[in-house]
Symmetry: C2
Subunit: 403 residues, 2 copies
């Protein structure tokens, strides 16, 4: 049994996105090669909501909620009923499978909040959980925090552009070994890979065969390039109660400052999530919930325009890395890119610190996403010119520190 | 080892404040005596933020934060540095002991969020935790969720008006039996009792002797009547790292719709809380954090006026219950009152449901706060006339259902 000390020892956040300001940089200056580079600081650890503004009308909905007062401040723990009803309709339409308004939706403080509650609701001490490598860094930490055991499943994201590259034999082996939960992001974070219809069907078949609960983090599933085909896990024919989907308007819609996430689908998982939310944070901030009224109801053309703008940056950035032979998958969706670095004379942790103090670039090390010491993750939802210049600095730094 | 099913079985929320709407009332109508009463519905499960409006200027700070954009949307997980610095100064001044701005403050999604993180940071599987009875219902649930074992300590809140009534012999016994954490609210929720200087000093002595960490939930410590003397736990001479205090502007200041809480004091506990917040919800909503700039900086006289108004309602309500012989402590602080019911012919759970469907009154059953099947909790931060009329209806109902 893990002691409370052990539990927190594995919960490192020093390299987590946004926490770089708490790092001590002194220890890497002795490794520095060449001069400090000039340029605008670009923080690729998250999107720039000043470059891509929040959804039009979002603040107005918030202001109206404050004016409504108490009814909006104190909602049910799972969120305001009227808002959940609207969401259920929109999410059913988006994903192609029905959503129960009263039993099938919970509003949480961000998608992180939904993920935390979902894992807490399904994973107990000693339970085995299948996790993709690479995948969102919190997946691993959450499972470990609740005493679960990770069964890694590899994603060969550089192998093909038609498939995400999930190793289905490993997934079957994890289920055969007793994993009762499969947790994955689609599009994959950090690579931007989208699972093919064939892959989703194969996951559904295995989950059905072994009675596995699937938690699908689809945070970026609206930001898809060139009409990439997308198959929603929850529409793949598994029983409703076996799939929980997580989404939210924090990324594509730039509403992260409002901290809103949604878990939808499985009524039994959502019932547990609500019980737990009652002691974790009671509810997503009441006034903030009203901002969800803008979600899936953006002005005509707004989302298309946002996709076009992101695609232009994506193409620039991928081209810069590939031109230097840094293997990089073209993300089919989302705003993350996960280029491969050459072999370096310094550790990845030190290289990332050097990028910050020498090249005015903040990125997230690949090691946060699994055993990926040769990659870095960039969120390219940034000012385009600044992002391009910063990507060139990263390439320059990689050349400077190459063995 | 508790299974995931066991873990959630103990996490009931059917009677939790604000969740009454999810109850099925059909089963109590057969118990109903007499006609349905008329009157405005009063929801005593929480304060009415339409009767007591949020702090002046709070919305303006929020609006300004949205205008600032990304810098305010993505703060460190523990909260924006500039806001924490202001809070540290104000909280040090309020509590009479220093607060480290960088290491000694974390901003959380509500005080519930702070409480969750604080318990998660200190209580592991099998750890013993001393908990007061009665006390805030989530304390017990949180400790049980993390596998801790509750060591109850009685509060004789009807025994004296000078002391809160903590049974110090039981507290010592709990510490002797191995409890390493003491978690309590001051003013006590649900009774409004304030711990005397002598009691706080005794708690500090025992905590020092046994090396016990103290988590002090002081959510209502600003709303004190008739200049009630108040001793802050963190100013009682224990080492800084041994005490974590929790406060927030959700109650007295009516800012609950923004979900803001603060943990302050112990740097080591706060470091763990931040690590955990990174996987629970990342941070309190970024824009919302700016609302804290109004905290402890309300317009001159605003807090005094709010106290006077609450005191008037308190006096009315307590008089109504006492006139019927329902033993009730006069709350020295906060806006909760915890009257004792006569012996009833129906269960407390049924009586509370009957209050809702027959008397248009929502209250929280005493059983949520420990083994207190003869009491109900009311949050009297309400419209005064509506609250007085509703209290009369409660008394009438108690007479109707008395054995």
């Amino acid at each position: 049994m893990a002691s409370i000390e052990d539990k927190f020892r594995t919960l490192g956040i020093d390299n987590a996105p946004g926490q770089e300001v708490r790092q001590n940089a002194d220890d890497v200056t002795r490794l520095q090669r060449g001069p400090v580079m000039t340029g605008t600081l670009v923080d690729f650890s998250h999107g720039d909501v000043d470059a891509f503004l929040p959804t039009p009308g979002s603040f107005d909905e918030f202001a109206e909620a404050v004016a409504i007062g108490g009814r909006q401040a104190y909602t049910e723990y799972r969120g305001a009923a009227a808002i959940r009803a609207e969401l259920a309709a929109d999410l059913a339409s988006f994903t192609g499978a029905p959503v129960q308004p009263d039993l099938g939706v919970i509003i949480t403080p961000g998608t992180q909040g939904a993920l935390f509650l979902a894992v807490a609701a399904t994973v107990g001490d000693g339970d085995k959980v299948a996790i993709v490598q690479p995948d969102y860094f919190a997946n691993r930490k959450l499972v470990e925090f609740f005493g679960g055991k990770i069964m890694p499943v590899a994603l060969d994201y550089l192998g093909s552009e038609e498939e995400a590259g999930l190793d289905l034999a490993q997934l079957r082996a994890a289920f055969e070994a007793g994993a009762k939960t499969f947790l994955f992001s689609n599009p994959n974070n950090p690579t931007g890979a989208v699972y093919s219809a064939t892959e989703i069907a194969a996951i559904a078949d295995l989950a059905r065969e072994f009675g596995v609960t699937v938690i699908a983090d689809q945070l970026y599933s609206r930001l898809r390039y060139e009409n990439t085909a997308y198959t929603h896990m929850r529409a793949a024919g598994l029983p409703e109660d076996q799939v929980l989907t997580i989404m939210g308007p924090s990324k594509t819609e730039s509403l992260s400052g409002y901290r809103l996430g949604i878990g939808f689908g499985s009524p039994s998982i959502i019932a547990r999530m609500e019980k737990l939310q009652a002691i974790v944070s009671l509810r997503a901030a009441g006034y903030n919930q009203a901002v969800l009224k803008t979600w899936f109801r953006e002005p005509a053309g707004w989302m298309d325009e946002r996709i076009v703008q992101h695609q232009a940056i994506r193409d620039d950035i991928v081209a810069i890395f590939r031109a230097e032979g840094m293997a990089t998958r073209v993300p089919q969706a989302g705003s993350y890119v996960f280029p491969t670095l050459p072999e370096l004379a310094v550790s990845l942790a030190d290289f990332v610190k050097l990028l910050r103090i020498q090249a005015q670039v903040i990125v997230t090390p690949g090691t946060e996403f699994g055993p990926h010491p040769n990659s870095i993750r960039l969120n390219f939802s940034q000012d385009r010119n600044a992002a391009v210049a910063a990507a060139h600095r990263i390439v320059q730094m990689a050349k400077t520190y190459k063995v």
